[in-house]
């Protein structure tokens, strides 16, 4: 049964409209070495608590979002456009 996700572009929408990709991790440089790439592609933490994930509003605005949710309580703490999140991180 659905929870609602507050898309920054569309407002509160049922979670069935979204597709979850997984953890938000910075993509390493091509030459970052095999350990960094193994971490990026395969290894995942399984935290109890806050977790940042990429969600795609597939059946809505088709924007990729960064959803911060609590894996224990399922509460969504934040929902941000992924492009804005990336740009914000890029700025010191």
């Amino acid at each position: 049964m659905a929870s609602l996700i507050s898309c920054p572009h569309c407002g509160a929408r049922p979670k069935e409209e979204f597709t979850i990709k997984g953890a938000v991790l910075p993509r390493p440089d091509a030459g970052a070495g095999s350990e960094a790439w193994m971490d990026y592609v395969y290894r995942r933490d399984n935290p109890r608590g806050a977790y940042r994930e990429y969600w795609h509003h597939t059946s809505g605005c088709r924007r990729w979002l960064v959803v911060t949710r609590d894996t224990a309580s399922h509460e969504v703490a934040a929902c941000q456009d992924a492009a804005l999140a990336k740009r914000a991180e890029a700025q010191p």
């Binding site: 049964m1 659905a2 929870s3 990709k21 091509a30 990429y54 924007r63 990729w64």
Partner: protein
């Protein structure tokens, strides 16, 4: 009407009699009856047989917790097994049938199970049917399934409609009893958006059978006035026949509304059930309390009923439970029932009170037996006497009805659906809702508040507190004085009763009795979760609404601990069973998933296309012609015609993506493993897209139509996935790139025109010069068609290995252009070809699809190693592609394979073995990824991924089909069976 219907009283409409049948026997009831009340009014005590022992069972409750009175109603596709007679509203012509009996309800051979009961105790199937193991599937299980059971589902399709809906409110009030009505009234008057939801046909809850008065008026009048006021408020929605069945994340509640389950002929423009998802800022649980049965011998005999149920049938439906009733009570609520029974003229033979003194003064006529218990009952198909035990002596008293009042358990299921555990209160002798819930409050009897006035006040006060939190100012609704308020103090639980001889049932629906629980504790299954599974207590469709509390109490007693220490099992949705129809909603049959039809669908159909479902798409597989005996005949003809003349194939299902922006070329350069920066305007290029782990994700051609404008095609299957992936790359990975994407799969129709005469045909409708010199292989440009009447896009690309083009036109013109092409091509032998021929042509040419790109291959496996750019600083998959295992020399790589004897063949999926090698895992050399009959070669051919494949052309091997244990001698070869020098492409 029969003698059990009282002359007056109740909320049934006596001017509207209804006819119905039970096991074929005609009976009469009134509008406002449930099936249960109507059966009782007709003197029908025995309504079902129990699950395991086939004991006669009657009606135990008057609500949704009913474990016994399960019947099948309706016929054909509307057959509904396991319907609780206690909640099914009566309608004219209702057909009900009893379940789990053979040959008939009154004479059921299954009762023999009762004699076997020593073998059917807790865990019996773990013990009795252990050995021999082979007997389980063939013998024991079918036998048990036949003997123990519920109703049978219909095999006919459900003719009715269902739908789903969303609702939003400030306050959701669950339960329209005293507390719920008071809360809704308080919030409604304050202007809040309120939803008041109740599972019953009428709002009111316990007020519908309460004999108390409010302001000197009957409780039912209070309900009517309050409902009318609520319904007059535009901000309040009162929903009856609606069960809130689950509490979910984000304060979303699931509910099912039975829109037309109470009518004989559902109207087709309305659903029969509607599934609601209710988003509530705050919710108030006012679900009341469930009365607990008492666990004594023969407590399941028809005629034994919950005291509150008996009162409901008496006061709400005007039905007497019998002529001579007894009441077995452990709290004061039994006395209120006694008073009402006597007022209605029913003889109360005895009140058996387990306590030394009652809290309530009783001045009725019934014989009051204190400090006593009912330890057994007698009777064949219904109760005829009770055995009352006092001071160790047993007295038999003749009765035809017995009420049991074991105290009340708050109904807190929903409060526990999100993981919080209920808390035991010694003071209330009950499990209460967890504390500190967010978004949900509990009021009234659900919070162990006793008494009508107290529940009204509590509902109003809770609503005010909630609205204060929401920032909506209000004052709590105030109610006039209540007269006759019973306010029963909590019962001291009476878990066990001395002197029991017959089975004393704890879980009526699953036939779990007292001894089963004792056995579970003795055998080491005393943990509440283990005891549940070992005895199956609480695992029936009623989920132990009546039984769980008694089971916990009895386990606690057997273990010598408090119920707090035993704890409860986990509460999970659904509160009551929800039909698959409601959960499915409108997504049934063809509406289960959308059908995608190509814009050339109708064109293909008129040329005799046989369609195949490919994902959501319907693709033309081949075009049968008159006289052709098999699909192979058609496909072979189409293939030969493409190689000799020219064919037209609908490739509109390919994914198509427009890519714009200053950085579009750079973007493509990063998402493909091969280079795209240097692609000139007017050219197409084959591209391979990798996943970050280095394996190939998808392939397709991308054409540059302008400096900052590209047009990408993807495979049919991965069209949506590639779009999502590109959006991820553009938005999440590289938002600094100026690139815009638009899916145009549905906007463009695309057709392949392939064969040596393709240019001759196309020249007749394309205005531009498409000669070899002017429009060479891999050319891509916008073209004018039919004398400038339409513009399309022409790509000189080939999947078949022939001189070939793909022409894209706006989807709406697809059929017209295909018709014009067919006319233009008639003199050159143009024929349509389908996806089967497309497949044969590409296998002959050694072109790969997702048969080969199966998630295990990297570019070099398919001979594309040199395409992978070594100069690009980065692209998706670059880093991981360099891994040791992905560059190993012995990786399976693409190779052709054909049988040595052309009369033999092999199938896709078969494995490759070295000649004379045994079929073992160690000897496995690879496997066939694609195969087809090739008219060009004259035999089956295949593509395969084989270790060192490209170095083994000419080697004789064996193709092994492990499913059929077939060995086909074959030879490895160049995967390009046709024109390996690619001369045809460039003509």
């Amino acid at each position: 009407m029969t003698s059990y219907r009282l002359d007056k009283g109740g909320l049934v409409n006596r001017t509207m009699p209804l006819s119905f049948t039970f096991d074929g026997r005609p009976m009469q009831g009134f509008e406002g009856d449930t099936l249960a009340s109507a059966l009782l009014a007709n003197g029908r005590m025995l309504v079902g047989r129990s699950f395991k022992y086939h004991r006669p069972r009657g009606i135990l409750t008057a609500g949704s917790a009913e474990p016994n009175a399960l019947v099948t109603i309706g016929r054909g596709g509307r057959t509904e097994p396991n319907t609780r007679a206690t909640v099914q509203e009566l309608y004219e012509g209702l057909e009900a049938r009893s379940q789990n009996r053979w040959p008939s309800l009154d004479f059921d051979l299954g009762t023999l199970n009762g004699l076997l009961s020593p073998f059917l105790g807790a865990g019996f199937y773990y013990k009795t049917f252990m050995w021999p193991a082979a007997f389980w599937e063939k013998f024991y299980e079918p036998l048990i399934r036949k003997a123990a059971g519920l109703g049978k589902a219909s095999y006919e399709a459900d003719p009715d409609a269902y739908e789903k809906s969303w609702a939003h409110c400030d306050l959701l009030v669950i339960g329209a009893g005293p507390a719920g009505l008071a809360a809704a009234l308080t919030a409604g008057r304050a202007g809040a958006r309120v939803m008041l939801v109740d599972e019953g046909a009428l709002p009111g809850g316990s007020l519908l059978f309460d004999s108390a008065t409010i302001d000197g008026r009957a409780a039912t009048d209070f309900v009517r006035d309050t409902s009318a006021e609520l319904q007059s408020m535009p901000n309040v929605r009162l929903m009856t026949r609606t069960t809130v069945f689950g509490w979910y994340d984000g304060n979303v509640f699931g509910a099912v509304e039975r829109v037309q389950k109470h009518v004989r002929d559902p109207q087709s423009h309305l659903p029969v059930e509607r599934l609601w998802r209710i988003v509530a800022r705050q919710a108030l649980l006012a679900t009341g309390a469930e009365e607990r049965p008492l666990v004594f011998g023969g407590n399941d005999r028809p005629g034994v009923m919950m005291a509150s149920a008996m009162r409901t049938y008496l006061n709400r439906y005007g039905v007497a439970p019998g002529k001579a009733a007894a009441i077995f009570t452990s709290d004061d609520s039994g006395y209120g029932l006694a008073r009402d029974l006597e007022a209605a003229g029913v003889d109360v033979v005895a009140i058996v009170d387990s306590r030394p003194s009652a809290g309530m003064d009783y001045r009725g006529k019934a014989r009051l037996i204190r400090e006593a218990v009912v330890c057994g009952t007698k009777g064949h198909r219904a109760i005829s006497a009770i055995e009352v035990r006092r001071d160790g002596r047993v007295e038999t008293i003749a009765v035809d009805a017995l009420a049991m009042a074991g105290g009340f358990s708050p109904i807190i299921h929903l409060a526990c659906h999100r993981g919080a555990r209920p808390l035991w209160s010694t003071e209330e002798a009950a499990f209460l809702a967890p504390e500190g819930l967010r978004g949900l409050e509990v009021a009234g009897a659900a919070a162990a508040t006793a008494g009508l006035a107290a529940c009204l006040a509590a509902g109003a006060a809770k609503a005010k507190a909630i609205l204060d939190d929401l920032g909506i100012s209000c004052s709590p609704a105030v109610f006039a004085a209540v007269d006759g308020d019973e306010g029963t103090p909590p019962a001291r639980p009476l878990w066990s009763i001395p002197g029991i001889k017959d089975k004393a049932f704890v879980d009526f629906q699953n036939d779990v009795h007292l001894k089963d629980l004792g056995l579970a504790v003795r055998e080491g299954y005393g943990h509440v979760e283990l005891a549940k599974r070992y005895t199956t207590s609480g695992m029936a469709t009623d989920q132990g609404k009546l039984s769980n509390m008694n089971a916990i109490g009895l386990i606690a007693k057997a273990r010598g601990v408090s119920p707090a220490e035993v704890g409860t099992t986990t509460f999970r949705p659904f509160y009551t069973p929800v039909s698959f129809g409601a959960l499915t909603g409108a997504h049934a049959g063809r509406h289960f998933q959308p059908v995608r039809k190509s814009p050339l669908h109708d064109w293909a159909r008129k040329h005799g296309a046989i369609f195949v479902e490919s994902g959501l798409w319907f693709r033309s597989a081949w075009f049968a012609r008159e006289g052709e005996q098999s699909w192979r005949e058609s496909v072979d003809r189409e293939v030969v015609n493409v190689r000799q003349n020219v064919g037209l194939c609908d490739v509109s299902t390919l994914g198509k993506i427009e890519i714009f922006g200053r950085d579009a070329a750079e973007f493509l350069n990063r998402v493909y493993c091969n280079g795209f920066l240097s692609l000139p305007v007017g050219k197409a290029r084959y591209g391979i897209m990798l996943r970050e782990d280095g394996f190939i994700y998808d392939d397709g051609t991308t054409s540059r139509l302008g400096d900052e404008h590209f047009f990408m095609t993807t495979t049919t299957a991965y069209a949506a996935g590639v779009m999502n992936h590109l959006e991820f790359c553009a938005q999440a990975l590289w938002p600094e790139l100026d690139v815009r994407l638009a899916s145009v799969t549905d906007q463009w129709a695309q057709m392949a025109i392939a064969g040596p005469k393709a240019r001759l045909v196309l020249s007749k409708i394309v205005d531009d010069d498409i000669s070899r010199a002017a429009f060479a292989y891999l050319g891509a440009k916008e073209v004018s068609l039919c004398g400038g009447r339409l513009h399309g896009r022409l790509f000189r690309i080939s999947f078949s290995g022939e001189l070939a083009y793909e022409l894209a036109v706006p989807a709406g013109y697809a059929e017209s252009i295909a018709d014009i092409l067919m006319d233009a091509g008639a003199e050159h032998g143009l024929q349509p070809y389908g996806s089967e021929a497309l497949g044969v042509l590409r296998i002959e040419k050694g072109h790969v699809t997702h048969n080969e790109i199966n998630g295990t291959v990297v570019p070099s496996d398919l001979g594309f190693g040199r395409m992978v750019s070594a100069s690009k600083p980065d692209f998706i998959g670059k880093a991981m592609l360099a891994r040791e295992g992905l560059t190993a020399a012995d990786r399976p790589r693409l190779v052709g394979v054909r049988p040595i004897d052309p009369a033999t063949s092999f199938t896709t999926g078969s494995h490759i073995l070295a000649k004379d090698a045994e079929a073992t895992l160690d000897n496995d050399q690879g496997y066939v990824t694609s195969s087809a009959f090739s008219p060009h070669v004259g035999s089956t051919i295949g593509l395969a991924l084989v270790k060192h494949g490209p170095e083994r052309h000419g080697e004789k091997i064996v193709v092994w089909n492990g499913l059929k244990d077939e060995y086909t001698p074959a030879i490895l070869c160049d995967p390009s069976f046709v024109d390996p020098g690619n001369e045809k492409l460039h003509v």
